[in-house]
């Protein structure tokens, strides 16, 4: 007997399988008390530690807030008002911010530096956004922005007064030194790293000697060489701008540290990648540029950014040889006998400037690492 379906059994419901959107795992509801028990008072030792630390934080925190905010003098052209106050004298920054930020650059021309800084910083910000990572955007962007920055800094055209690079100062000089160091240093670093991994003994020897001797000496001595010794190396009558010498010195110093980081990345590339590239008939440079370096630089990105941050901090070494970057300018300003006792506020301000740039760079590099590692976990 045939099973009769259709007439007396109920019709089969044909419903499409609808996938529900996946839900996040349930959030464990943690009350403030429970959180404190877990994170602050998990054991007798931890409780004691927390109590002592909370005490100290409150004590110092209240002191700091009183000093820095409640009792502080925010604006006054009169140093006597600051002297009388119990708290911080932020007025020193309001009073002296021009020489601190722009050094010995002619006072009437400071607006040019502001334009240069705005153009430069927006270019850098644009470069750091993935949307702009195209040759068609980056090349014109940088050409225009470097041209504008250069015109603003030097002047001499369009009716702007010419300002010699010896008069540059403050934050713009810091940025110039930093950009010069990284832009000149990075290609040298790649060449040195490749040289150190080269199978040609002479190339390897030259790279190793340069890298190791640069890494063994303080940056100060390199700057002394750039300022005191390098002029002796040149034939009579030929002179190179002091700032350029300093930038090249810092760039070579930066390159030698960066080369070691890149070498680490190169070493991490499996042998098979080289062999596969050779098997395809790629020559040395094409193999390096198309196959090896993109992978190697990606691997050692954190190290690269660390040394770029170090390069930014190292620009402050020019204090020793008398270029007026932001720190030198501030130190010079703080020689003013009327205001010198408020150096803590001034240095905190400079420290905050450096901190903002360095911290932003390091946070940014962590995000780039995430982007680069999307879809690959190694």
């Amino acid at each position: 007997m045939l099973a009769r379906t259709g007439e007396d059994s109920p019709p089969i419901e044909r419903t499409a399988f609808v996938q529900k959107s996946s839900e996040p795992p349930p959030i464990e509801k943690i009350g403030a008390l429970r959180w404190m028990r877990q994170n602050l008072f998990s054991s007798p030792f931890n409780s004691a530690l927390s109590l002592v630390t909370i005490g100290l934080v409150v004590y110092w925190g209240v002191g700091f807030i009183k000093w820095g905010i409640l009792d502080a003098v925010w604006y006054t052209p009169d140093h006597e008002v600051c002297r009388a106050a119990a708290g911080a004298c932020w007025a020193v920054i309001a009073e002296k911010h021009r020489p601190m930020l722009f050094g010995v650059y002619p006072y009437a021309e400071h607006w040019r530096l502001i334009i240069a800084l705005v153009v430069y910083l927006s270019t850098v910000t644009a470069t750091l956004t993935p949307y702009c990572w195209k040759r068609s955007i980056l090349i014109p962007l940088w050409t225009v922005s470097l041209a504008v920055t250069g015109v603003m800094l030097w002047g001499g055209v369009f009716g702007l007064t010419y300002v010699d690079s010896a008069q540059w100062g403050g934050l713009p000089l810091t940025m110039v030194l930093f950009t010069g160091t990284v832009v000149i240093g990075f290609p040298i670093a790649i060449l040195l790293a490749l040289g150190r991994r080269s199978q040609l003994p002479a190339v390897k020897a030259v790279s190793v000697t340069l890298i190791e001797s640069m890494r063994g000496v303080p940056l100060i001595t390199i700057l002394f060489v750039a300022v005191n010794v390098f002029p002796l190396f040149l034939p009579e009558g030929l002179e190179i701008d002091k700032m350029l010498r300093v930038v090249v010195g810092m760039a070579i110093f930066f390159a030698c540290y960066q080369a070691e980081v890149i070498r680490g990345g190169l070493q991490a590339i499996p042998r098979g990648q080289y062999e596969a590239a050779e098997a395809l008939g790629l020559g040395y440079w094409r193999m390096m540029v198309k196959i090896i370096l993109p992978q190697a630089l990606r691997i050692c990105l954190p190290g690269i950014v660390n040394h770029i941050i170090a390069a930014l901090k190292n620009t402050s070494f020019v204090l020793i040889i008398g270029l007026f970057d932001i720190l030198t300018a501030t130190t010079a300003v703080m020689q003013d006998p009327l205001w010198r006792r408020f150096f803590v506020e001034a240095y905190l301000f400079v420290a905050a400037v450096y901190f903002i740039f360095c911290f932003a760079l390091s946070k940014y590099s962590q995000r780039v690492e995430l982007w680069l590692n999307e879809g690959r976990r190694f």
Partner: protein, 392 residues
């Protein structure tokens, strides 16, 4: 056929041989380096001759004519430039040695604090690390040097402990009055360390051979501390201290650290400490948690888990980058030139300005730093080999 022959010939042409091209590149590079060197040498000689500067290291024997604020060996302005530079080298090593010890203590402490389960402690430690790492070391040094200059004068000195004073003339602290016993106590301490090391080695070898556990940590500590103590007692236990006391405008007695030394030391210690803290944190976190659980599961006590399981594995990650931090601390001690601490660069700079012998003075500085760097890396490499994985 002829064409084929021709193409074969061009394929095997000597210019297509990698080996030949390698030789050509290297010869070109070598010739380039030699030519550059010769060119620089020639220019330098011509320039020096034109400016009438004598070359050579004869100036080292001349009278320096300047005095140095602090020195580990006797020095006055009648001594030679050579001796002044030696004073500078000792001062560099002195501040670097203190800095390395203090930065290690600070860094290890902060690194452990960063991985603490205590939220407050770990946040405070990471605040310290982030702030101090992202501010240039030059600023650290100048800042702390200025802070010390603004401290109260000796009459209103800060005194955190009795007999210990912080003033704008530096830090003044009590020391034991010199006595012939102390060199022997020092010798006993060294002997104690050697004996304790030998004993620990013997104990671990015995444990490996027989399985018998001989406690070595406490007895070792006993030897290291007890031997000097016994020597001190045997020497008649001299207990006189030279305690600083205010006489007129300054302190008499005790010993002192100069404000320049303290400023430089605090600056480079706080800066390098932040980097070491990061390294220590990464090292501790690199040990897989399973290792710790496994160690607990086989019944090791917490102290032993740390000593036998976590530390040996973490050190492997920690030691190499810490070496480069020690090197950079030593090189950063050259910032003494900024605040008047008479380190090698400072003395070298004075010499350079007085004699005009820029080339020689800078060459001396660079050579000395290179040698210091190489020595530190040598020691740390040996230590690294001790803690590295022993693959069988």
């Amino acid at each position: 056929m002829a064409a084929f022959e021709a193409s074969r010939k061009s394929d095997t042409s000597i210019f297509n041989s990698l080996a030949f091209r390698g030789v050509v590149y290297q010869v070109l590079l070598a010739v380039g380096v030699v030519l550059l060197g010769w060119y620089l040498y020639y220019n330098t000689n011509a320039n020096l001759e034109r400016q009438g500067i004598a070359t050579g290291f004869d100036f080292l024997g001349e009278r320096a004519g300047f005095s140095i604020g602090e020195s580990l060996i006797p020095f006055d302005s009648a001594n030679s430039y050579g001796r002044a530079l030696v004073v500078g080298i000792f001062n560099t090593l002195y501040v670097a040695a203190f800095g390395i010890v203090l930065a290690t203590i600070l860094g290890v402490f902060m690194g452990i604090a960063r991985v603490s389960t205590n939220w407050l402690i770990s946040k405070l430690a990471s605040g310290y690390v982030e702030v101090c790492r992202n501010v240039p070391v030059v600023l650290h040094v100048i800042f702390w040097a200025s802070v010390i200059r603004m401290l109260p004068p000796p009459r209103e000195a800060l005194s955190p402990f009795a007999g210990f004073f912080i003033t704008n003339r530096g830090v003044i602290y009590p020391i034991p009055v010199e006595s012939p016993v102390y060199p022997w106590v020092g010798a006993a301490l060294v002997a104690g360390i050697v004996l304790a090391t030998l004993f620990a080695r013997w104990a671990s070898r015995r444990r490996e051979q027989t399985g018998q556990y001989v406690p070595s940590f406490l007895p070792g500590l006993g030897i290291v501390l007890g031997l000097p103590l016994l020597t001190w007692l045997a020497g008649g236990a001299p207990i006189d201290w030279s305690v600083p006391a205010l006489r007129g405008f300054n302190f008499q007695g005790g010993a002192s650290l100069t404000p320049e030394f303290v400023g430089l030391l605090v600056g480079i210690t706080i800066y390098t400490g932040a980097f070491i803290a990061e390294i220590v944190r990464a090292g501790i976190q690199s040990v897989p948690h399973g290792q710790i659980e496994a160690a607990r599961a086989v019944g090791l006590r917490p102290g032993l888990v740390m000593r036998l399981v976590i530390l040996p594995q973490a050190l492997r990650v920690i030691v190499p980058p810490t070496t480069s931090q020690y090197l950079s601390l030593t090189k950063n001690s050259s910032l003494g030139v900024l605040i008047g601490y008479p380190d090698l660069v400072n003395v070298g700079n004075t010499t350079l300005n007085q004699t005009g012998q820029a080339l020689e003075a800078i060459a001396i500085m660079m050579t000395v730093y290179l040698m210091i760097s190489l020595t530190i890396s040598l020691f740390m490499n040996v230590y690294n080999r001790l803690v590295a994985i022993r693959e069988r």
